[in-house]
Amino acid sequence: MSCDRVSEALNAWLDGEVGLLAAARIRRHLRRCAACAEYARAAQAISRAARSWRGEGPPRALESRMAAALDSAPAALLDQAEALFAGTPSPVRPAARPRGRRLAAMAGIVAAGAAAATAVVFLTPPAPEGSSRTPPQVAAALPAPSIASASLPETASGGREEHPDASGDPQPQHRSAQRWVRPTLGGYSRAKTPPLEDTAYLDGRDSDLRQFWVDAGRGAAGLIGEIERQLITPKDDFVRLPAPRLADSAAGGAALKDAVDQYNREASVVDTRLSRRVTLQLKAASLEELCAALQVQAAVRLHAGRGVADEKVTVLVKDLPARDVMRGVARLFGYYWGRNGEGGSYSYELVQDLRSRLVEEELRNSDANAALLALDAEMERYRPLLGLTPEQLRSRVAAASGPEKARLQGLLEHGGWGGLQAYSRLSPAERLALRSGEEIRFSLDAENPDRRLPAVWKRPLLQSWNQKVSLGTTNGELFWNGTTPVADVPGAVPVVTLRMNRSEAGQLNLQAGLNVTIQASEMEWKSRGTAMSLAVGRSPSVAKPDNGAANAALKGRPPFNRVISLAPKPAYRTRADYEAGRDKDFTGVTSAEVWEALHHESGLNVIADFYTRLHPHTAFRMERVSLFDALCRAGETLGVRWKKDGDALLCRSTGYFWDKVKEVPKRQLVRWQQAARPPDGLPLQDLLEMGMLSDAQLDSLVVAEGVVYGWGIEEYALVTPPGRLRSQVRFVAALAPEQRRKLFSPEALLFGDLNFAQQQEFLRMNPWVHDPNLQLRPELLAQTRLNALYAPAGVYWWAPRDPNGSLQVRDVMLTDRSAEKLLEAARRIDAAAGPHQIQRSEGDLLLHGRIGDLLKFGRSRTHAFVNLIGPR
């Protein structure tokens, strides 16, 4: 019997399905053939494992649920059963069943909600006339949600209901098919209002429901409402007056009447001074600057509240009443002007109330959620790939084309595979952390078991990056340009990171990183990483503003039918200018230049918000187009919605609620720009101030491009992505003056001089100290000496080179404003130092140190190193 025939019959033999003669032949063959015997052993083991599955049974509740479903199953099922073997079955939906613990929990919530609802009903006032049910009866008549009815049938007085489907056939009630009936105050109406989805009930979206359960029955509400009805709207409608404040238990008391009368007197005042006409040409000005300019021309005291003073605005108006400017600004931002003082000498303050702030917060939340959902949907596309072997994945890559091919290639060539696997295994807490901007790091030796990569992942992870190295050299450039795949390097250690980047408005970018550390020599480790964007989720706020449809009524009407040509004047250097080495004739514009050109061409008064975003001026060049079309096209490119309001055009960014938290105040930009002028460059203190901006500000690459290139503040790149020095800058900023002095002097700052929080921060910045191979004992760590060097942009710097010319930034880095003096100083250290080694800094901070005689470490804008310096 040949091996082929035996192997085919082997499984049947193992399953007892061959005749005696065949069985004897197989046994004889197995005694002679080691390969087939091995196969038989493996097949037997697999069969054993498969049989071990047999212990699992259905949940006990299934039988009773099925019996209930059987009772309520429609007669159509019978037809299906009969048709089943005829091959023409029609779809049938199962009866509701709880889906794991999640639904069980939801059922609990609903049950609890039902109990709570009943309690509330008893507290609500009696139903108005016309309602046939008293509140308790209403609760009793509520149809229980399907989830509850599935697992808690005793709570459902209405029992299970069958709803006809689109075809009119009755369908068994499914878990998502059950609907609440929209309530009205005092009762529920099944017939008059459309049904409400369970989810809308649960998440409080329905205002009627919310009002019914939450708002009704508050005793003071009626009185407050009565008072509000007596207050008149201020004649200056952009002004908000403080509401009457009094304490009087009698609703109709004299004090109350006086307060209302006083408010109404104030409200009826019209400040005639605000009728003065003003002409303003403010581009990207802060609201504080606007108030100052307006104050001069209107001769009225104005100022912006602290919370809004740094907001930026473009106001281009000619001969417009100050009142209209104030109204336009208030409407544009959703703020209000508070009036203080006495008649004839009122002063005004622009403020944002809590309600407006909460609305913005809500917009950000809902926008972020929409982006998150979009991102999750994007990640779902990877789900079929999760269980694939690398070979299978590679074959998919070979078969794919276009963007799909690039996406799959990223998984295998840029380390995305590990991130994908890690993302699919995130716990709810980790997902939350990821969503809040935290970087989730997985390694083979992580102390937290949840963050520990299984050892068997190691090779596949390394295989998922096409990086090759050259072993036997410590020169970084040569090392990372070798021929040996990292997967073949013994001792290579992978680390997987996940980070959700929300740097830009309404957009989430899930980035997977793979970092590999390799011991290049006995004394030196090399580390390098790769990253890829796994998925991008975009929210509605980045959608096009569609101004054409929103302002269709204005099309063809004067002045929007006027034909104009648009050519905004470039005012900012862009990245392209920087890379092209252009020192003048820049090409960048912001929205301010665009509105300025439009205002100049059309005479239209413009009040627009301003957020730092550079555009090429060519994007707005238009020849002989109607003003309407020009506005629409400019709005689309800028991401701005515009609206005619009186004699002015109001222009608002679609993602303003994101943009405003990312914007850097103009007062700081102006100060940094002035301080950064040559030859000294930006002082360290200003760099530290940058580091103290919020993460939301520093994470925005769009704003960073505007600051670095547009404003020419190169050091800003140190604290924004992809610069990796934000933590270091913040660490230095948090030091006391004496600590900082030591840090920047040869004296050095000792680890022991740091307070507990600073020590923790140092350890967080240098996770390698936890490497078990280093065995860094606390007493050794206490010998750490820290130093820092700061080279502002424009300053020249020099560091020693190794014998093959490679840069060796270690604890020696010389800086000087003069290239000649620096060269002299460099030659005192290394006689071979030449002019070609003198480099102009783009702004750098080197935070470095040594731990006893064991280690040297450091990080700068371009280098990161950890090296042994002596015997261990």
Partner: protein, 189 residues
């Protein structure tokens, strides 16, 4: 004469009590998701009970039920509503069974998931459910020889997939021969 295998049960309860476990188990292995398996099982028994009169006793009742389950599964799968959650979702239960046998099963489950559907179905019916090749052929609606060759192909592929020295398989679940990594992988769950 009706044998016990071919006898019609008197009630729905009797039908379910006698065959519920094996059909549920079969559905669970096909769906790899507990909740979906419950749905599928429910459908099978409702359809079977309603159509019991049409059972002609030419095959065993169990085979008949398997056949219904298999057909419903095919419909379920083609509807695109198949979940890909792993069979071992029960591992996050309060007292996970980390015995070697269970881990072997977990590894096998992962490997099975990588097989083509025809091979997987044939393997489950014959090796896990213990059906004869003839019965499996009846359930699947293919010749017996086809079942035999599919089982053989499935075992051959599984053998390769479960080979601990192979290395390039993505080991979502550990194999018993890698004790050092077992706990880590289970922790991952």
């Amino acid at each position: 004469v009706e044998t016990s295998l071919h006898r019609r049960p008197d009630s729905f309860e009797a039908l379910y009590r006698e065959h519920g476990e094996r059909i549920y188990r079969f559905c669970h292995r096909l769906c790899r998701h507990r909740a979906d398996a419950e749905d599928l099982t429910q459908e099978v028994f409702i359809l079977a009970y309603r159509g019991l009169a049409g059972f002609d006793a030419r095959s065993s009742l169990a085979t008949w039920l398997y056949r219904i389950a298999y057909r419903r599964w095919q419909r379920f799968r083609s509807s695109g509503s198949v979940d890909t959650v792993a069979l071992d979702e029960g591992l996050d239960a309060p007292s996970p069974d980390l015995s070697a046998a269970r881990l072997d099963r977990i590894a096998l489950d992962d490997a099975l998931a990588q097989l083509s559907e025809p091979l997987r179905e044939a393997f489950i019916l014959v090796k896990a459910e213990g059906l004869k090749y003839r019965e499996a052929a009846e359930v699947l609606g293919v010749p017996q020889g086809t079942v035999q060759s599919r089982v053989h192909a499935a075992v051959t592929e599984l053998r390769a997939l479960l080979d601990p020295n192979r290395g390039e398989i993505w080991p979502r679940r550990p194999a018993r021969t890698r004790p050092a990594c077992l706990k880590e992988a289970v922790d991952e769950l």
